[in-house]
């Protein structure tokens, strides 16, 4: 919906003053993350509202993937707090103490957050349909019959109704990525994270994947999309964040950031990709 809260991530509290009825879907408060002495995220503060599509751009190594992985607790945060739908990710807070979540509790949190990877990471020993129904059956305890029905429906939704029994190796990159999206959707996530979903694709295959993502955005899914598809960001994104060197350099509506960048670094970056 509104990218308003994304416009001023530096203060981070811009959104709260508006006292929205609903908590934001993603609420990152001064999130920092280091690998050894390499500080990859430096006090990232941002919010993603329900139904919002936030695109994240930035040069290689700027920490975009790491940030997504933190939201999904594939990496743990060193400092700051990260909430998804009001739940603190990775920890339980009692008083002013934090307790690490058990592996099963962390897995529980991840269920509701779908993730799509640059290299698809489909399970190569399973067919497209098996890829999609695996987690609903194993994790959610869904019956095989129900999972197959839902999986078939999802594959049709991403335009792969005919390829349900194909193995990933028999599918093009674009088809594989759409299976991966269906696989994530099968868990009925409330939030979808995309890490450069089209970067590994041949140019002519990008469009199909973006179409699926566009449709998903239209259906009201909350999405955080790391991408270099500026056309997609401009057209589908509600907000756009430019990251560099582990900080958010600039954020706002795609039209503002792309059309009228304020910072030199943003300008330099955009001049190279646009």
């Amino acid at each position: 919906m509104s990218g308003a809260t994304g416009t001023n991530p530096a203060t981070g509290t811009a959104g709260t003053t508006e006292a929205r009825a609903s908590v934001p879907m993603v609420d990152a408060v001064s999130v920092s993350k280091s690998f050894g002495s390499n500080e990859v995220l430096k006090s990232i503060t941002l919010r993603v509202q329900r139904g919002e599509v936030m695109c994240v751009i930035g040069p290689s190594g700027s920490g975009k993937s790491t940030f997504l992985r933190c939201i999904n607790h594939l990496e743990s945060v060193d400092a700051g707090r990260l909430y998804v739908d009001g739940d603190l990710i990775g920890y339980r807070q009692k008083g002013d103490r934090l307790y690490e979540l058990k592996a099963s509790e962390a897995a529980q949190q991840r269920r509701d957050i779908g993730m799509v990877f640059q290299h698809f990471n489909l399970f190569p020993h399973m067919t497209a349909l098996e890829n999609v129904i695996e987690a609903p059956i194993r994790v959610n305890g869904m019956s095989k019959q129900a999972a197959v029905a839902r999986g078939t429906e999802l594959l049709a939704r991403v335009g792969l109704g005919q390829q349900a029994s194909h193995y990933p190796s028999q599918l093009s990159g674009g088809q594989q990525q759409r299976v991966a999206i269906a696989r994530a959707l099968a868990m009925d996530p409330k939030l979808m994270l995309f890490d450069e979903p089209t970067s590994a694709l041949d140019p002519e295959l990008v469009g199909d994947v973006l179409d699926v993502m566009r449709e998903l955005a239209t259906s009201g899914m909350t999405m955080v999309v790391v991408t270099h598809e500026m056309g997609f960001a401009r057209e589908v994104g509600d907000s756009l964040v430019f990251m560099d060197g582990g900080v958010i350099v600039e954020a706002g509506t795609p039209r503002d950031v792309l059309g009228n960048p304020q910072h030199e670094r943003t300008k330099a970056f955009l001049s190279k990709v646009l």
Partner: protein, 328 residues
């Protein structure tokens, strides 16, 4: 892709076949090359010499008394020998099954996030890979001398009761224990290599779907590691079949080699019986090798099937220098 391809060529979208200058279009196919094949006279010469030597050896062996061919014929299908062959097979199969299961457990322990499990597995491998299997088998044979009672009480402080262990495990049982515990250490390394060969992205994807560590292992990682694990496991089976001869250290003597020696001690015909045993071993290993050939064919077929075909170094991101601080 943001690579410096000449602007016109991207339109087709097909893979960049850079090195095809489309100058004058070739009209006719050039003449097929007809050349005199390179000859290898030395290969032929050496092969002939070797065949001659082999024939001489066989002819010589056939009439050499010491080989005692009539005894070979007599004992090759002797009921005691074929029973012993069966026992050797049983030793192999049981030891491998237990070895594989325990090896899998050890490998998973080593890769698990739990440091206690890791340490236990490491210690196990250290001991069992670091000592000869022959010595281990002698040890297991002596186990009833080492541990002959159960003491109930506080260790080193007070004893309430001592229960003598009267059960004497059968030597076959001890042999299987000795062989399989040793095998487990080697299988653990094979399985570990297999598990590590699976793309970490697989584990990540499973985790992101909310699957537990164990679900991820069982459903995603282990099935994919089989391609790597199965061929060397075939080797281990063949190797185990031959290692069973070492159960003499326990001492267990009902296996093929033990039986052959026992019979020859009665009949004073050691050489024919060695030949008999060797023929049986060769027969079994040949079957296993054929099986392994097919297994390897089956499992190497998937080498490029296993992973989504992705340009390895495809980095789409614009070529902004890694540390972009200097851009300002």
């Amino acid at each position: 892709m943001s690579d410096p391809v000449p602007p016109g060529s991207t339109a087709s979208g097909s893979s960049p076949t850079g090195a095809t200058p489309t100058g004058a279009a070739p009209v006719e196919r050039a003449e097929t090359i007809k050349a005199v094949k390179l000859r290898h006279p030395w290969r032929l010469t050496i092969a002939v010499v070797l065949i001659v030597l082999l024939v001489l050896f066989v002819l010589d062996a056939a009439q050499r008394k010491a080989f005692g061919w009539e005894y070979v014929g007599k004992y090759l299908f002797d009921i005691r020998i074929s029973q012993a062959a069966l026992i050797t097979l049983e030793l192999t199969v049981y030891s491998m099954i237990i070895g594989i299961i325990l090896g899998l457990v050890l490998a998973i322990m080593r890769l698990s996030p739990n440091p206690v499990l890791k340490a236990v597995a490491w210690l196990y491998l250290w001991v069992f890979r670091g000592t000869p299997v022959y010595v281990q088998l002698v040890f297991w044979g002596l186990i009833t001398l080492i541990y002959n009672s159960i003491v109930i009480g506080i260790p080193f402080v007070h004893t309430w009761d001592t229960i003598a262990i009267t059960w004497v495990p059968p030597l076959f049982f001890i042999s299987v224990v000795g062989l399989s515990l040793n095998e487990a250490a080697y299988m653990a390394e094979i399985v570990r290599a297999g598990l590590l060969s699976v793309d970490p992205g697989q584990e990540e994807a499973a985790k992101a779907l909310g699957m537990s560590w164990w679900q991820t292992m069982r459903r995603i990682v282990i099935p994919q590691s089989m391609r790597i694990i199965i061929p060397p496991t075939g080797n281990e089976v063949i190797s185990m079949l031959k290692t069973t001869t070492l159960v003499a250290a326990v001492p267990f003597t009902l296996d093929l080699f033990g039986r052959a020696r026992d019979i020859s001690a009665e009949t004073f015909t050691p050489i024919p019986l060695l030949i008999v045993a060797s023929i049986w071993y060769l027969f079994f290993t040949s079957i296993l090798m054929i099986g392994q050939y097919f297994l390897e064919k089956r499992f190497s077929r998937g080498t490029d099937r296993g992973r989504p075909v992705v340009g390895v170094g495809v980095d789409i991101e614009p070529p902004v220098a890694g540390g972009t601080g200097g851009l300002r």
